[in-house]
């Protein structure tokens, strides 16, 4: 990541639109699904036909409450839906129903680790609102028309706003990742950035080091991956610093990030900022949330990452680092628990350590190399658990298991399939091992002599010879024992 130019400070705040995973839209009964044929998921309410009225989807409110509980916010006992008025073809009512003065979630904190340091990012608020539809120009412009798809119109969003409290691109990206982890962990958002389920707008300003007054900020929109967020903020920092150093002045405006050209472009300035004429929506009653309702949702909340991390340390004796890695996303935690269950066994602590070791090493390396999400891992948690089971029952050595894992990753099936196909069953027959050990001792008198002279390393060479002779299938522990016994005899 690029460093902040010397002598400058950066202040960043993020506004994140998270699409909530409710079955239906926030103010109508239409399904809220992505990717359907245009306008097949839009009802009379979504089309804003005359006479239609909004009815609040309780599910969306529950998502907001869950989020508030997860980040330690205050859940407002009474909040208000307001109308944000502006004309746009993909905004059917000519106003968006949002929350303005009294949002449902107030305050809250998200813990991040950036550049090795822990930090708390303060949230300002989170409010419920409806999404707009989509204008479609591609493929239609030759006909001189634009299309409108209202499938997305009315999809529930929770807009999560931070304080301007992040001072580097790293912090902003770490926050975005942590927030992504939380909303997907508690199951209110699928986190799919490509489909627009998790969209970040970044407010970026720069100031000379030591100044206390905030610089003029620009809002960057249209960032649909963490990598683009990083690049967009970096670009914007450079642009603003260069502008000021060249004697210019930053103008408050909304800028669009263009990933193809890796730059931000002015979309609209504050001068042509619209007056949205917010006022409380008279079609909707104030949203009242009782302590009992919050209690009910609290009781049904999943264990949060920090809680699970602490439990893993206490229950399984895992290192804080491993426990942190395993709880870095719901996908990781789910994988760990499933693999551990598949492995089974009496020694839960031992098993947990083994699963954790494998996940943080071989699995992490493979996921990283192929750039895939753990949820789409080529080796499922169940399969990994079974593979580790084959170490526990002595079928495989640890080393053999790594080879089997590589074959499994390549798509050759379950551990047992690979073992059968490659004849990789570990040899535990002591008679067979004794014969191989005797042969190796007889054939390597020099090494034997060195070992007996006190050179411990010589044992490794002999061990390697035995393993080679066994085509790596001999039980390594037995080979070591046998060698030591024979040589000391």
């Amino acid at each position: 990541m690029s460093a902040i130019p010397t002598g400058w400070e950066v202040v960043i705040g993020l506004e994140t639109h998270t699409q909530l995973m409710t079955a239906s839209k926030i103010f109508s009964g239409s399904p809220a699904r992505f990717g359907a044929e245009p306008n097949t998921q839009a009802s009379a309410v979504d089309l804003a036909l005359p006479g239609t009225l909004p009815v609040l989807n309780k599910g969306a409110v529950e998502c907001a409450i869950k989020f508030g509980l997860a980040v330690g916010s205050t859940i407002a006992p009474r909040s208000i839906f307001a109308r944000k008025n502006y004309f746009y073809p993909d905004l059917p009512k000519g106003y968006q129903i949002s929350q303005y003065e009294l949002p449902v979630v107030v305050g809250g904190e998200v813990a991040i680790v950036a550049a090795g340091a822990e930090k708390i990012v303060q949230l300002t608020r989170a409010h419920l609102e409806e999404d707009a539809g989509k204008s479609m120009h591609e493929g239609l412009d030759t006909m001189g028309v634009s299309g409108i798809d209202l499938n997305r119109a009315g999809t529930p969003l929770l807009e999560i706003v931070t304080e301007p409290c992040m001072y580097s691109t790293e912090e902003a990206v770490a926050y975005a990742r942590a927030l992504h982890g939380i909303v997907t962990w508690i199951g209110i958002c699928d986190g799919n950035m490509q489909e627009g389920s998790f969209r970040c707008d970044a407010n970026v300003s720069v100031r000379r080091a030591g100044e206390s007054k905030l610089g003029t900020r620009c809002e960057i929109k249209n960032v649909n991956s963490f990598r683009f967020l990083e690049r967009a903020i970096d670009y914007e920092i450079r642009r603003q610093v260069e502008l000021i150093e060249d004697g210019g002045r930053v103008v408050q405006e909304t800028r669009l990030y263009d990933a193809d050209r890796d730059e931000t472009r002015s979309m609209r300035s504050k001068e042509d900022a619209m007056d949205y004429r917010y006022f409380p929506d008279p079609d909707l009653l104030p949203l009242e949330i009782s302590a009992a309702w919050i209690g009910e949702i609290h009781a049904g909340m999943p264990e949060l990452p920090q809680q699970m991390r602490a439990r893993f340390v206490a229950e399984f004796g895992l290192s804080d680092y491993d426990a942190g890695w395993l709880t870095s996303s719901l996908g990781h935690a789910d994988y760990f628990v499933a693999a551990l269950n598949a492995l089974g066994g009496e020694d839960r602590r031992g098993a947990a350590k083994q699963v954790a070791n494998w996940m943080t090493s071989d699995l992490a390396a493979a996921l990283n190399r192929d750039d895939v999400d753990i949820a789409k891992s080529a080796v499922s948690a169940m399969s990994l658990g079974k593979l580790l089971g084959r170490i526990a029952d002595g079928t495989l050595s640890g080393k053999m298991a790594k080879t089997v894992f590589a074959h499994m990753w390549a798509g050759e099936g379950e551990a047992d399939d690979v073992i059968a196909a490659h004849g990789m069953k570990q040899v535990n027959d002591s008679g067979a091992i004794e014969k191989m050990v005797d042969d190796v001792i007889a054939a390597n008198p020099k090494s034997v002599e060195e070992y007996r002279a006190g050179k411990e390393k010589a044992l490794n060479a002999l061990f390697g010879q035995v393993m080679k002779a066994s085509n790596k299938t001999a039980n390594p522990a037995q080979v070591t024992d046998m060698l030591k016994r024979k040589l000391s005899g």
Partner: protein, 496 residues
């Protein structure tokens, strides 16, 4: 029997006795409307659709599945959306619009009660007006004198009842639009408590004020109609369930002291002194005074009360209603339905031209006003201040109800005026709403009952205001009055 003057109850008897069919009744009223086109009441009639519903009703009657309203014809204000009939809201911007669904009220009266729809009725554009001159489809004429306005915005709904073109009609009231035309056409109407009739399918003017209600020949007919219209609807978040049905409340209250000479004994009638101040014409004042004396004869007690913020209801209303309207009418942009300008340069131009061409002058005036009072820097001084005044007006009524059961006074300061007389002076027109706006701002039920005639021989209406969800008792009190008076049975000479 003269069906044009018959009560719903007597039409029910005729239908049940098989002396007339729902189809014959529908045809009678359709024919009658066809001969009264000059009143300009109906915006859309479809004989085929009406007769289809009449046939259904006849089948229901034949099967014995008869409710109090089965087979009774009803006409709908064009603010209610209907499948089949166009739904224009009296606006050019929706001139050809047909809704894919029925309004909750339309559905309840048709599917629920078995009523037969006669068609859609003219009204002020988007219900904005007090004279029905703001319709894009021309003014409606008052059956009592066709030089006069019928009142508004539910002008045609009142006119068809007065002219005997329908036994029942629906209307909507945002600041007096049910009560004022009822008064000016000499018929009975009730605006129920805000939230008791679903707004689903009512083309919105001002959401926090809009309320549908019935218009008919008598309080008893209104009770039967409102009973079928009211009820909780999950599609309207501001809808509220009532503790008992309208008809139950009406019947219970009607039975009270029924056999005595003073059936209204114990009923306290509050008469607000602010309703009898300057601006009230003397003939309206004396008709209303006589009506109150009639209630006293029935055993009621008159109590002098004060509604001190009556005058403030005008500015408060004309801030809040336009504010909500400016937002509610934003959906009419020519993009998805409704009028779209033929020529335009780009998207913005298309929206601007479509709206400029589609909306009439009064609608534009209110959109401008509404956008202004909501704008940055003006919001607190206008919109928030008006909301504060609104709360105080509601408090005034609650204070008044501590010493009375009902409030009575005039509906409007004058009788119906000549068409064109006030159309160039919007503020003069707004002042006509002074006695009805407070009730709307407070969300209270209010009704209009015919109580005499002015020196110009035009009808005068008595306003009865009740407390929340007290419609049953209000209608019963009005019914008592109508049992001892015949103002509600008078017919215009031209429409016997």
């Amino acid at each position: 029997m003269n069906y044009s003057r018959a009560s719903i109850k007597s039409l029910r008897d005729e239908l049940d006795a098989k002396r007339v069919s729902a189809t014959e009744l529908a045809e009678y009223f359709l024919d009658k409307a066809e001969r009264a086109l000059s009143l300009n009441t109906y915006l859309h009639v479809d004989r085929g659709l009406t007769l289809l519903q009449a046939k259904e009703a006849d089948e229901r009657i034949a099967r014995g599945e008869t409710g109090p309203l089965t087979g009774i014809p009803v006409a709908h204000k064009d603010i209610f959306v209907t499948r089949g009939w166009r739904s224009t809201a009296g606006s050019k911007i929706l001139a050809d619009y047909v809704s894919p669904f029925d309004a909750a009220v339309v559905q309840k009266l048709h599917e629920g009660a078995g009523m037969v729809c006669l068609g859609k009725l003219n009204c002020d554009e988007f219900a904005m007006g007090s004279s029905n001159e703001n319709s894009a489809f021309g003014p409606v004429k008052n059956p009592w004198n066709t030089q006069k306005i019928p009142g508004g915005s539910s002008g045609a709904s009142a006119a068809v009842i007065a002219a005997g073109l329908a036994p029942a009609a629906t209307g909507t009231d945002t600041g007096g639009s049910l009560r004022q035309p009822a008064a000016m056409c000499g018929i009975t109407a009730i605006k129920p408590t805000y939230g008791s009739v679903s707004r689903y399918g009512m083309i919105a003017f001002a959401s926090s004020l809009d309320q549908g209600g019935p218009m008919a020949r008598s309080a008893e007919d209104c009770a039967a109609l409102l009973d079928a219209m009211a009820g909780f609807d999950e599609r309207d978040s501001t809808s509220m369930p009532a503790a008992e049905s309208i008809w139950t409340g009406f019947s219970k209250a009607s039975a009270l002291h029924a056999s005595t000479g003073a059936p209204l004994q114990g009923v306290r009638i509050g008469v607000p002194r602010e309703f009898f101040a300057e601006g009230l014409s003397t003939d309206v004042a004396s008709a209303v005074e006589s009506a109150i004396r009639e209630f006293e004869k029935l055993g009621a007690v008159r109590v002098d009360i004060s509604l001190p913020r009556t005058r403030l209801s005008i500015p408060a209303y004309y801030v809040i209603a336009p504010a909500e309207a400016s937002s509610n009418l934003s959906r009419f942009d020519g993009v998805r339905y409704g009028h779209r300008a033929k020529d335009y340069r780009d998207l913005t131009d298309m929206i601007e031209r479509s709206r400029a061409e589609g909306f009439g002058a009064e609608v534009k005036r209110r959109i401008f006003t509404g956008a202004y009072v909501l704008s940055h820097g003006y919001y607190d001084a206008y919109y928030l201040q008006a909301q504060r005044v609104r709360r105080l007006i509601g408090q005034d009524f609650q204070d008044a109800f501590k010493s009375c059961d009902f409030i009575m006074g005039p509906v409007a300061p004058t009788t119906a005026w000549d068409i064109g007389a006030k159309s160039s002076d919007p503020v003069a027109m707004y002042l006509e709403d002074i006695f009805t706006l407070g009730v709307s701002l407070a969300g209270l039920p209010g009704m209009s009952v015919p109580c005499g005639f002015g020196t110009d021989n035009m009808p005068v209406g008595l306003q009865i205001i009740g407390n929340y969800f007290d419609e049953g008792r209000m209608l019963a009190v009005a019914h008592r009055y109508q049992q001892v008076t015949d103002w509600h049975q008078r017919a215009p000479e031209a429409f016997p």
